[in-house]
Symmetry: C2
Subunit: 360 residues, 2 copies
């Protein structure tokens, strides 16, 4: 009784039945008589048996009923990014419908990636990992179904994600159509943790940051395609994907080039820009238009409500769940295209003193 954990065997012996009968008492009640079942369960309770051990079961059944999500950066960061939360929300929702649990795994905690190697999962979802991230190799080494959500496709892995460049171009086109000619873009430059902070050293762009780069270049490309010089666009990099970071970057823009429109590569940054504008008494959208990206819940509640590129992160999470479950079931599904459109709210308007339309 000290630490002699009873096992299924123990219970079987005590009840005078075979181990299989005990197992069945828990897992297949229809395979034994009600009285035997009750006797077994009673004796199990008396012995303090806590039910079949999940580890033994997993070993034998060769499944865990769990899907692992590999997150960029440190695990906790996932919760500070509303876009990531929305994706996880959808993912959790889809998996939970199928009775699968969700295991959250950090990426860079240890160089050995022991967490990935020993994760008790049936499949992986990669949340914004780049193809060349060492953790990705580790995941592929597990030879389990994998779905990737993020910027760049990984060879041999189903991918979910929008074309960030095209999507950002829509934002640019909207502003161009309104008549804007001077643009500010707020991006996130540095990775969230140390790494490449020394000047001169090449900055390693991890995870979602790649997607943000794509948004920047998509935006710039669209502006140039409309016939404007590249320096019609000023890109500023925030320290982090936070409202404060966005506000800081926006202040920089407003104090120097003073564009008539700002594109934040995430809603979080754009919302920060709105605060900065409010503080500096720059009226939005009269004197400054602001566009975001993601269509996070908060985007519709800002003052004024934010015009943004909506990419239904929740649905993408659910889609990731569907696909990964299909792969587990041996079905090969095609990933349907993801709707991604500009939602025009009240944070954009023609620039003051100019007419809209007729770009060129």
């Amino acid at each position: 009784m000290i630490d002699e954990r009873p096992t299924l065997q123990t219970v079987a012996r005590a009840a005078g039945v075979s181990p299989m009968t005990v197992s069945n008492a828990y897992n297949r009640p229809d395979q034994l008589s009600a009285e035997t079942r009750e006797k077994v369960l009673r004796i199990a309770r008396e012995l303090g048996y806590s039910g079949p051990d999940p580890a033994g079961r997993s070993l034998r059944r060769r499944r865990t009923d769990t899907v692992g999500v590999l997150l960029t950066e440190r695990l906790p960061y996932a919760f500070t990014d509303p876009g990531m939360v929305a994706f996880l929300h959808g993912l959790a929702s889809g998996l939970s419908d199928a009775g699968q649990a969700l295991l959250l795994l950090p990426t860079i905690d240890d160089a050995e990636h022991a967490q990935v190697r020993s994760a008790l999962v049936d499949a992986f979802v990669l949340a914004s990992l780049l193809p060349d991230d060492p953790a990705v190799a580790e995941v592929l080494g597990r030879r389990l179904p994998v779905v990737s959500w993020g910027a760049s496709p990984i060879p041999g892995v189903a991918r979910i994600g929008v074309d960030n460049g095209r999507a950002a171009a829509k934002a640019a086109q909207h502003l161009l159509d309104l008549g804007h000619r001077e643009f500010g873009v707020i991006s996130v430059g540095r990775p969230l943790l140390g790494n490449g902070a020394e000047p001169g050293e090449p900055v390693v762009v991890r995870g979602r940051h790649r997607a943000m780069q794509q948004r920047v270049s998509g935006f710039v490309r669209a502006v140039r395609a409309a016939g404007f010089d590249a320096d019609a666009v000023t890109v500023v990099e925030a320290d982090s994907n936070t409202e404060d970071g966005g506000a800081q970057a926006a202040r920089e823009l407003l104090e120097n080039r003073r564009p008539t429109a700002i594109f934040g590569v995430t809603d979080v940054l754009a919302i920060g820009a709105l605060s900065a504008a409010a503080e500096a008494d720059v009226a939005v959208p009269a004197k400054l238009s602001v566009v975001g990206f993601d269509d996070v819940v908060a985007a519709s509640r800002t003052v004024p409500p934010l015009t943004t590129v909506s990419q239904s992160l929740f649905d993408q999470g659910r889609l990731a769940a569907t696909i990964v479950l299909d792969e587990l079931a041996g079905r090969r599904t095609k990933t349907p295209p993801i709707r991604c459109e500009l939602v025009v709210r009240a944070s954009t308007a023609p620039p003051q003193g100019r007419q809209a339309g007729s770009a060129g």
Copy 2:
């Protein structure tokens, strides 16, 4: 090569070494010569061996390096509640520092609680479960370390949580001190999913809702203790813990009793009340004071910034991690008290046309 998954045995035979040597090649590189190790790993690669199977390892080692969080209601709900997200953030942060992964488990998905029974975890954290929730019994049956975060203590389980009643009383006291005499309280009445929706049938209060009840009664008690009649407080129940729910409830209050102060039992509800007030052209705080509870990130960014009861949910999450890890290590820690104080921002002021102070 069809589906003959190689095992550690297979690799050992192919390499002409013992299984233990293969195991050591992965887990204890210092226990064998570099050349043997490389040979083993090379052959493993050639055979397509993906490394030691986590299920086998878990069975043998009797640990999973994973902590399960049991969530109220359906799993996805966790992500829509910023308070819950903040707690999970802290929890994930603490666990990740210790190399533990986080398994999210829904509660009511299936009546059998198969998910709890077969969860591959070393310990559980209960997020706002009530002592009499059947899932709690299931968790206790697992005989693993458990920490509970939430409203009511569970016998024999370490608990983290503030005294909701006392905390709400602070909010009440603040409003009383300002001179308010007519109060509205926005609570959440019905459980989030079906369950007891029929009139007459007693409503089963699940999870966080209990905490919210405690906040309501703490508030009411404080008002009465100050010498006012119980009907100085009007309680309205929102349909759900969402901004829309809070806004709807606030409209009800503003149209009928028109209190000079509103207490939302969560920030989410209080923020909804702010929107409702703005829409109805009721100036905050001049004509209406609003107080929330939780001190969610968004609370400091509303217009005006929300006065609220701050209970540092992130820290509570980290604390839960610490305690659960301590229990796993066999250490018994005492749970330190949790700081919980009123943060006065700009959403509260004396009621129009009256003097502050001298209550009673």
